[in-house]
Symmetry: C2
Subunit: 221 residues, 2 copies
Amino acid sequence: MTASRMKIQNSPTIRRMPAYLHRLLEMQQEGRESVSSTELAEYMHIEPIVVRKDIALTGISGQRRVGYHVDELIRFIKNYLGWQNPVRAALIGAGALGTALLGYDDFAHYGLILDSVFDCDAKKIGTRIRGKEIFSMESMEERLKKSPVSLAIICVSSAAAQSVVDRLVNVGVRCIWNFANVSLRTPPGVIVQREVIAGGLAMLSVKMKNSRLHPGAEILE
Amino acid sequence: MTASRMKIQNSPTIRRMPAYLHRLLEMQQEGRESVSSTELAEYMHIEPIVVRKDIALTGISGQRRVGYHVDELIRFIKNYLGWQNPVRAALIGAGALGTALLGYDDFAHYGLILDSVFDCDAKKIGTRIRGKEIFSMESMEERLKKSPVSLAIICVSSAAAQSVVDRLVNVGVRCIWNFANVSLRTPPGVIVQREVIAGGLAMLSVKMKNSRLHPGAEILE
């Protein structure tokens, strides 16, 4: 008997949420109290009706003429994504991509705490990259047992990814954000999100193709 | 009067295409001649019906019991994405993220030729990163006039991105893949794809939330 299956709905909406949140957090910094769906649509390069549908999914209700309260909308989006509480994460692989992720300031605003960074390069171990100490791959299990994380970000090579993930699963990690270009095998109950960087290139390519077929049209997502 | 608007349909399907292609190219290397939707579904961690719908959009027809011919499916996916002909691209910003993209081997299989790499760091200019010579930001216009590109990949800081894109648009670049965490203003006819790295984190977070609400269920995309 197979376990029940649950399909994630609204994935384009979910993927847009961090971009809304990024702009709303900027607005909060600027002291803005409210925002209209039209303004968010211009920022996102999508239709206002899409913005209204996206935001309706968070459960907030806008007010006629006022739009959405910035603080409230931030709270609703964070709740929708489950970002109201901080999550501790490990980063495995501090190469170019791992280093880029360590520099992604928004993670802190989203409650993602990059707690432990591991790499196999002896020259990096014990040094700091973007303020984070780099630990050896050999020490991974020991350290994660002492300081458990909810999430691991995989930035190792495709060839190394499966064995790293097996080790992480063995010490109880149940949630994997996989940047290696490989499909991972994991036991039931482990959640994997695979990032395929070329997914964005595919989107761009289809937009280019459509703009050749429909010259002059504004291509919206 | 506003220009006509054209909404991109099927964005989750489009985003999945490079992952199918990646696996199919591996199979081609392995000498495999055919593949079933069930096998691709297992690889992608999605339902077979979703695979069949995705692939049907490319216009190919599968054969009962045989499945899809690997070579033919590769060709149909490349045509669907407009990847049948090579595209020359410039990379702006050879920091950690830019360096990671230079190491993404699949781009070559997708016909993306990273032709010119620019950076503002005097220490990098004239050196090679992953085999690519780094040119100065000052030389960007001159070089792109001599060797035009169809596409520019923006890996500079958010603060620098808009002025870099303005310069690219001025020399005729009409297609921007933006990794800076900022919404760009571009004139009509310029196509922009913004990558929000936290989009994947949002997907993962919603999967985590659903797995808490429906323990034991397999969470599919």
